[in-house]
């Protein structure tokens, strides 16, 4: 009998049903040659054994790193035996096909690939940030993502500052966020990369350009899928991080799975606090002369506090459900606001608050011998957002208070409470037509109804009706259909996707206009749009492949873009969808098992780009701005050398320029770079990994990471004044301007030490070692040098 064993070739939807996601797990499926699952097959890895489920799935936990003997047997089939290699920090996902006809054991080298690696090799390209591999580091998700190819996180301020990801020059709402494939809008600011600890996630998948249809979204520029860490077995993990600026982050995760794997339950609790009281270089008003004197001042009202908790129960491995997950997630956050969009004025009392309790239900089931998969999600929550600015006075940068007769430190006195009642439904259906062809269907329904109150807010003209009390509605439906096909012994993979978008919204246009709002300001709008995408991957050799994609898509105005956020972003119901044609081409190869090279290029042509534009200080408004076209490249290298060392580096250059401006006043902007968008950034890092430092079983990892961000410009500058040299990388733009964000250098270094017991990890990091002035978001300064220490302790672990 001949046994054929090979790696999963990354059928994307399949990966969603691989449950085991800890790093000591071997999972897989056992089929016969016709693709029929072999239930009750026995799978043995070393001393660990299990039986495959009816769908052929098996999972083995606590598999130590190293070589193991793999034995697979089933009634009617001859037992198979081979050696596999389990790498550290990686799960193995295997697909085993058995044939009765063959009598001879075939010697096959089994190469295990982690789910993270599989995600990296999808036909639809994803930059994968392996959070689990570095979870013991005292670092942040935003820093981790900034080290990734072609990804730029621009974060306003310190811990908890709102992050905005930029992918291929797309940013803002062009980028969509998901948690395990579910759109995350309903969680507000409570579940994002700015506040989540590394422990919360298994990995982050950053899609650049085309999205898989399972991520049902109208994103133009890509998406970020936060893949949560699923806890298997009995497990309890806790961590605590202390850092500069009175930063404290702590959390507990715990899970238990019954022996028969019919039930599991668990919880995650995270807490973040930082005073964010770092120094910033600001203009301080001299009380006598009224002149500004620039100096370093400590931020005194910049704290962030966030608590997040989730509890869940899984009913699993039943006849009627592979998994039924009942979950309740809740969070509360409070954010002090030190200054308006620019660091022009110090505030001492303005607060933003947000909270919700979000129950959800998720059901997964495979039918028809595993050919048909159903994944259904539903949730309902009331997201409550508050903004408090009622102070009868003002503060200076020294924290001194001066009373005044009118309320509010900002232009927008407020005691608002906004309710966003949200319903999210998501249906994902996959159908395996045959061994090389599958269909995918995805449907997302989002319904948001917003109202609120603000005693300081606007009233309808000549009435006492609070504008916020009028309900705004937003409804979006996205249908997606994909056809996956493999050819040429699975060397060629094709994905063809179509999407249909429908949205409708109603609300008030001029809530920011102080002088009254009338019936005429009510708006109602809706639209239907189609998008199509095609992605191809061709595997040249087992270690090299090429992939490309084409996409024509729309991006609908999001609810925050239409409604504003009642803080600084004001409504605009005149928005039109963005539309874009995107293309990408990439090549990846592993050379000699040590060097991984990945090169990618993209082209995009976007019309009606929606950008956040300041309109009336301190307000900003989303508007359809310029048309943008251009291309870009990124290069990623990873090199293992001298056993213990890994050198990594990547660079991204993008040439995104305005086009199609016919107005004679603005025609000079044609071919100018898209403003406020970095065009070159690069990362370099080295990591060493040593075992048996002080004891036989300890481990030390030391890392240094450098990040470079090329100067960019807050406002449009003429092309002929841009810096010269190769790719515009030398010197400065030939302009006389303070609106230039200069070159920035960020150097972080740290280590993690695993104690011999294996249960305790110590991580430490120095961020911004060079103590450089770093900026993001309209020159808002980021923290200087800071120190962070993290202790992680695994209390219990078992199968």
């Amino acid at each position: 009998m001949r046994y054929k064993i090979y790696m999963l070739s990354v059928l994307f939807f399949l990966s969603k049903f691989i449950l085991a996601q800890t790093t000591d797990v071997v999972t897989g499926y056992v089929h016969n040659e016709d693709g029929i699952p072999l239930g009750d097959a026995t799978v043995q890895v070393g001393n660990y054994g299990t039986t495959a489920l009816s769908n052929g799935y098996f999972s083995l936990k606590n598999i130590p790193t190293g070589k193991h003997i793999l034995v697979v047997s089933a009634v009617g089939y001859t037992a198979f035996q081979d050696t596999i290699v389990k790498l550290a920090q990686e799960n193995l996902a295997l697909q085993i096909r058995l044939s009765k006809d063959d009598k001879v054991l075939q010697e096959v080298t089994v190469l295990g690939k982690s789910e993270t690696q599989q995600a990296k090799e999808q036909t639809v390209r994803a930059v994968v940030v392996d959070t689990r591999a570095v979870s013991t580091q005292a670092t942040t998700l935003t820093d981790l993502m900034n080290r990734s190819t072609g990804v730029r996180i621009r974060q306003n301020g310190g811990l908890g500052g709102r992050p905005e990801i930029s992918i291929n020059g797309f940013q803002g709402k062009a980028i969509k966020y998901f948690k395990d494939g579910i759109p995350l809008d309903y969680m507000g600011d409570g579940y994002n990369i700015a506040s989540l600890p590394l422990e919360a996630l298994e990995r982050i998948e950053v899609y650049k350009g085309v999205l898989p249809v399972s991520l049902g979204a109208d994103a133009l520029g890509g998406a970020v899928n936060l893949v949560s860490a699923k806890r298997r077995g009995s497990h309890m993990h806790t961590f605590y991080e202390i850092g500069s600026f009175n930063t404290h982050r702590l959390g507990v995760t715990a899970a238990h799975e019954t022996k028969d794997q019919k039930w599991s339950y668990g919880t995650e609790l995270f807490f973040n606090h930082s005073d964010n009281d770092y120094n910033a270089f600001v203009g301080v008003r001299n009380p006598n002369t009224a002149n500004l004197e620039y100096m370093d001042m400590r931020m005194f009202h910049n704290a962030f506090q966030h608590s997040y908790g989730e509890a869940y129960v899984n009913i699993q491995n039943r006849n009627w459900a592979d998994e039924l997950r009942l979950s309740v997630a809740a969070f509360a956050l409070e954010r002090e606001q030190q200054h308006p969009a620019l660091m022009t004025d110090p505030y001492g009392a303005i607060l933003g608050k947000q909270q919700t309790v979000a129950p959800s239900l998720r059901y997964k089931k495979k039918l028809l011998d595993g050919r048909l998969s159903i994944d259904q999600f539903a949730s309902y929550n009331n997201l409550q957002t508050r903004r408090i600015d009622t102070l009868m006075g003002s503060y200076d940068w020294y924290g001194e208070f001066t009373p005044k007769t009118t309320p509010g430190e900002s232009r927008l006195p407020s005691l608002s409470k906004i309710h966003e009642r949200q319903t999210v439904l998501r249906t994902n259906i996959g159908y395996q037509i045959n061994s090389s062809t599958s269909l995918g269907f995805n449907y997302i329904f989002t319904d948001v109804r917003r109202d609120g109150e603000d005693p300081y807010g606007q009233r309808l003209q000549d009435t006492d009706i609070d504008v916020l009390s009028l309900e705004s509605t937003y409804q979006k439906q996205i249908y997606g259909l994909s056809l996956d096909k493999y050819w040429l012994d699975e060397k060629l993979h094709n994905q063809l996707m179509g999407k249909f978008y429908h949205y409708s919204a109603s609300g008030i246009q001029n809530t920011w206009f102080s002088t009254g709002v009338t019936e005429a300001d009510k708006r109602r709008l809706s639209g239907n749009y189609w998008g199509i995408a095609e992605a191809l991957r061709y595997r040249l050799t087992p270690s090299a492949f090429i992939r490309g994609s084409l996409e024509y898509t729309y991006r609908l105005p999001e609810r925050e873009e239409l409604f504003g956020n009642n803080i600084f972003v004001v409504p605009n119901f005149e928005l039109n969808p963005e539309k874009s044609f995107n293309a990408s081409l990439g090549y990846q190869q592993v050379i000699g098992g040590r060097l991984t090279v990945e090169a990618n290029g993209f082209y995009r042509r976007t019309k009606g780009l929606i950008l956040l534009v300041p309109i009336q200080a301190p307000n900003a408004q989303y508007q359809n701005q310029e048309n943008v076209k251009g291309f870009g490249f990124d290069l990623d290298l990873n090199y293992h050398f001298a056993t213990h060392y890994t050198l990594s580096g990547n660079a991204t250059w993008q040439n995104l320029r305005l086009f199609g401006i016919t107005d004679e006043t603005d025609r000079w902007k044609n071919n100018a770079r898209l403003r406020n968008t970095p065009y070159f950034f690069a990362n370099a890092g080295i990591q060493s990994n040593h075992s048996a430092i002080l004891s036989q079983n300890d481990n030390l990892k030391v890392f240094v990471h450098y990040n470079f961000l090329r100067e960019f410009y807050l406002e449009t500058i003429r092309k002929d004044l841009e810096p010269g040299g190769f790719l515009g990388l030398s010197g400065q733009a030939n302009i006389n301007s303070n609106l230039r964000i200069p070159n920035q250098h960020l150097l972080n270094a740290g280590f993690t030490y695993k104690l011999p017991s294996g249960d305790v990890n110590i991580g430490a990091e120095i961020r911004n070692m060079l103590n450089k002035n770093l900026y993001d978001y309209y020159r808002v300064q980021r923290p200087g040098r800071s120190f962070h220490l993290k202790l992680s302790y695994t209390l219990a672990k078992g199968g």
Binding site: D345, P413, S514, P614, D663, D666, R667, I735
Partner: protein
């Protein structure tokens, strides 16, 4: 504006000297022995957003033909909607760095480099902060929203605050017990100096929020306090009857002095969104301190139905040049008030009020913070910007024919917002 008119007691020669060699913020260093040259500084706004990004460029000659205003020698910054020149000084009410409210002076050196100079900062949350008027090279007045019932005193040479005048008593002469008046201020929107008197509007506003003091007037009349400059004492309060709101303040101060010293003041009308209705141009004669009750230009008497208003005024030799909308005005992001071609240039004879449309000039957009007309080298120049950008520069006005011809067009840098001639040291 007409910098050489000496209408407010400016001595232009002195001011010219003040600029000699000033390269830092400690004040100018006079160097009368050195010859001086003139620069013509042009500003444009590169985006129609509230941060008003734009450029300023110094030219050796009065620009002509096609002009690029965002070259490598141009200053790029924010708050470039317009400026309020004084003599040879260039002031903005918005900082170049951050569009913060206050008073900033732009410096121009002999090489033609324009740089942002000293800045007086104030309450950045209340429109009107930085509204200023200059008496002479050492004394000026401005308003700061942090102390709404005071008028601040500053030294224009050092561009530093030197003190303040508390005028709470003058403000509280009326309406002190009116519960509907939520906000009071003096000098927030109108500050002018004439014959040793400071004129400052008094705000009685029915709102205290985002735009307090603007189009939320409690009284139908506009009150203006008259303060003696020598004694800093409030002398009396005069009023412009039945007009609702005085100017919406920004760099365009919306008043001007005729050659004979008569002061002409724009009022914005009663519409709660600032689109006009009862908008006027009124007068204080040269040697008077009261509003001339016998003369006013009423927009409602000029135009047809729908709210309309005046937004700028230029007075010279008994004539007023102003813009009159050819359609009723609408506000908001899609309104026509700012960026549609609805504004037409007219010359109005002050004595007869006879108005004549100026020939050769297209219908233009709202000048906003820019002045509609200026005077340089004895030439009257009209700011002309059309929505499609086919015209974007200055036209030279010929009073004898009441027509204008294009002097130059800005082809790169944005919509034109101001032009001024300054003298710089060698």
């Amino acid at each position: 504006m007409k910098p050489l008119k000496l209408k407010t007691g400016i001595i232009a020669l002195t001011i010219g000297v003040l600029f000699a060699g000033c390269s830092d913020n400690d004040g100018p260093t006079p160097d009368p022995d050195e010859s001086q040259e003139s620069k013509y500084v042009l500003i444009t706004m590169s985006d129609n957003v509230n941060t008003k990004p734009g450029y300023a460029t110094a030219f050796d000659e009065l620009p002509s033909g096609n002009v690029i205003n965002n070259g490598n020698n141009s200053l790029q910054g924010l708050g470039f909607g317009g400026w309020r020149p004084y003599g040879n000084w260039l002031f903005k009410m918005f900082s170049t760095d951050a569009n913060a409210l206050g008073i900033e002076r732009l410096e121009v050196n002999a090489d033609g480099k324009v740089t942002p100079g000293q800045f007086i900062a104030g309450d950045n949350t209340t429109n009107g902060t930085g509204n200023f008027v200059i008496v002479d090279e050492t004394k000026g007045y401005y308003w700061d929203g942090a102390s709404p019932l005071k008028i601040q005193v500053f030294n224009p040479t050092t561009l530093s605050r030197t003190g303040d005048i508390d005028l709470a008593e003058a403000v509280n002469e009326r309406g002190a017990d009116e519960p509907e008046i939520l906000y009071r201020a003096i000098g927030q929107k109108f500050l002018s100096v004439k014959n040793g008197k400071l004129f400052a509007n008094i705000t009685y506003a029915t709102s205290d929020g985002t735009q307090k003091g603007f189009w939320d007037d409690f009284y139908p009349d506009v009150y203006i306090a008259v303060i003696d400059i020598a004694t800093s004492k409030h002398e009396k309060t005069i009023k412009i009857k039945d007009t609702g709101a005085i100017t919406y303040i920004n760099d365009n101060n919306m008043y001007d002095f005729d050659t004979n010293g008569d002061l002409y003041i724009v009022t914005q009308g009663v519409h709660p969104r600032g689109t006009g209705g009862k908008s006027k141009i009124v007068r204080i004669k040269a040697n008077e301190t009261d509003i001339d009750s016998d003369w006013s230009l009423d927009m409602d008497a000029i135009t047809g139905e729908g709210p309309r208003k005046f937004v700028s005024v230029f007075a010279k030799d008994g004539k007023i040049i102003t813009l009159i909308p050819n359609a009723s005005l609408t506000g908001g992001p899609t309104g026509n008030i700012n960026f549609e071609d609805v504004w037409e240039y007219f010359s109005i004879d002050i004595a007869s009020k006879e108005r004549t449309k100026i020939g050769g000039v297209p219908v233009v957009t709202n000048p906003g913070a820019a002045f509609c007309a200026i005077e340089i080298d004895n030439k009257i120049l009209l700011r002309v910007n059309t929505k499609d950008g086919s015209s974007n520069g200055y036209f030279e006005y010929n009073p004898s024919t009441n027509s204008a011809t294009e002097l130059f067009k800005v082809t790169s840098g944005g919509s034109v917002s101001g032009l001024h001639k300054v003298k710089v040291g060698n």
